[in-house]
């Protein structure tokens, strides 16, 4: 058994909150570059280039890429041979509290959905814990703005809807979202499981590097087909028209019930932030 101190977790989360908000992963940057080069509409190309300028400026100055520094969505893969000295939940929240203060990040969390008083420190984090074999703790912080979160949807499709039903639903979500989620978007699709697992799958799909297709050729082809269809919609960067509506599509799946085909679409903006550290 390996012991991890809660202070190690707090320090890592604080670092990850700041880093993730100021520096985009290389796979996202290179995809935006590639899309800018391939974009036939000049006004759209210009927007993509400004987005890249913004990303470079944020990294250089250590300031947030976007003012919506999000709710801190934290994934913890906890080794079964790890003992945490202290509370994981408390350690993560303290990390978010410190990171959002020290990084001059926006505090965007209200403590109650209807009474809406701001908690003032961006806590609580959204914490997803998964037990894994081994003695490591892998922490991922994925700050997620709500411009794109608000445009996400889940539908309990019927088995008879099949792959065409999935394609039509994903396209309808992107179409309806239009300019709101700050296109070009990253599209996370969850398929299968049940109601709540499906939504989490769609979120997890957003964590996959953009240059890493699904390992199963069937879903790799479906991702490719969906991306082509989305980029034929013409919505374009910021919704001003153009080819680049989405940067990528990632699908994650789980076994499901004989009666169902749950499908969740979690949209992310071009500021597709996430940062991981292994303790």
């Amino acid at each position: 058994m390996r012991i991890i101190e809660s202070t190690q977790i707090t320090n890592a989360i604080a670092r990850l909150c700041i880093e993730a908000n100021c520096r985009l992963p290389e796979d996202v940057l290179s995809r935006v570059h590639a899309c800018a080069a391939a974009e036939p509409r000049l006004a759209a190309k210009d927007i993509l280039e400004k987005i890249l300028q913004n990303d470079a400026l944020a990294a250089e100055r250590g300031v947030p890429i976007c003012q919506d520094t999000g709710m801190a969505c934290v994934f913890a893969e906890l080794g079964e041979d790890v003992h945490i000295n202290g509370s994981l939940r408390a350690a993560v929240d303290e990390g978010v509290r410190r990171g959002y203060a020290a990084g001059y990040l926006r505090k965007s969390v209200v403590g109650d959905p209807l009474r809406r008083a701001n908690t003032g420190d961006n806590t609580p984090a959204l914490l997803h814990v998964e037990l894994m074999p081994g003695d490591k703790l892998t922490l991922t912080v994925a700050p997620k703005g709500f411009g794109s979160e608000n445009m996400s949807k889940l539908k309990m499709l019927r088995p008879s809807d099949g792959v065409e039903g999935v394609i039509n639903f994903v396209l309808s979500v992107v179409e309806e979202a239009g300019s709101n989620p700050c296109p070009p978007v990253v599209v996370g699709v969850g398929l299968g499981g049940n109601f709540e697992q499906c939504a989490l799958l769609a979120k997890k799909a957003l964590l996959r590097p953009l240059d890493e297709p699904h390992p199963d050729p069937y879903y790799r082809d479906l991702e490719k087909k969906l991306l082509e269809k989305i980029n034929a919609l013409g919505i374009g960067p910021q919704g001003f028209g153009g080819r680049t509506t989405a940067l990528s599509v990632a699908i994650e799946t789980l076994p499901t019930h004989i009666a169902g085909l749950p499908c969740a679409v979690n949209l992310n903006c071009h500021v597709a932030r996430h940062m991981t550290e292994v303790l």
Binding site: K50, I51, P64, Q67, G234, F240, G241
Partner: protein, 187 residues
């Protein structure tokens, strides 16, 4: 077309602008997003004065990050305009002239914009670091308790935007997409 526009925006200038025009804005405007709009609306219902002069004013839908030491303001890109739709027609009828945000507006807002000669601009969503360089002053003028949602007076200098909906109700989100699809299909 490109225009350098001085704020406050006059009705005459507003009426020259067309959906798709690129514009740089310089001068004063006010920030307000969800919670501030709810309070402004409550003030209107109670017949109380608003905390800033609304006649010819422009509102930027933004909740910036806190300024680091030495910064005027933190990252400050636009938030989704449509969440303000429910509050906006009443403000337009009292003289609001310009709005900066991102995304579509509903029919009631567009009708009120046409009725009053107002313009909706779009700034690049997710480019908050770049846009903050065009904000030269920032001071809280109301609702300080709302934190990032407080109303601030900003002084802009050549702040880059695009006209997304003009005083005739032309909508770049429809026009731009149709143009792109037409160009693509002609190839």
């Amino acid at each position: 077309m490109h225009y350098d526009v001085q704020l406050p925006l006059t009705e005459e200038t507003a009426k020259q602008l067309r959906a798709g025009d690129s514009v740089t804005l310089s001068g004063p405007l006010y920030t307000a997003r969800d919670a501030a709009h709810a309070r402004l609306t409550a003030l209107l219902h109670e017949n109380k004065p608003l905390p800033f002069p609304i006649e010819n004013a422009s509102i930027y839908y933004v909740g910036p990050t806190p300024a680091k030491p030495g910064q005027v303001i933190g990252s400050a890109g636009p938030t989704t305009s449509s969440r303000m739709d429910v509050y906006t027609p009443a403000l337009l009828d009292r003289g609001l002239r310009g709005m900066i945000g991102k995304g579509v507006r509903n029919g009631e807002v567009i009708a009120a914009m046409k009725r009053n000669g107002a313009v909706c601009f779009g700034a690049i969503g997710g480019a908050g670091a770049l846009l903050s360089d065009c904000i030269k002053e920032a001071e809280v003028v109301a609702f300080e308790d709302l934190g990032a949602e407080a109303i601030c007076r900003l002084e802009l200098e050549k702040f880059p935007v695009v006209v997304v909906i003009d005083t005739l109700g032309n909508d770049l989100y429809q026009i731009g997409r149709a143009q792109y699809l037409q160009e693509r299909d002609q190839e």
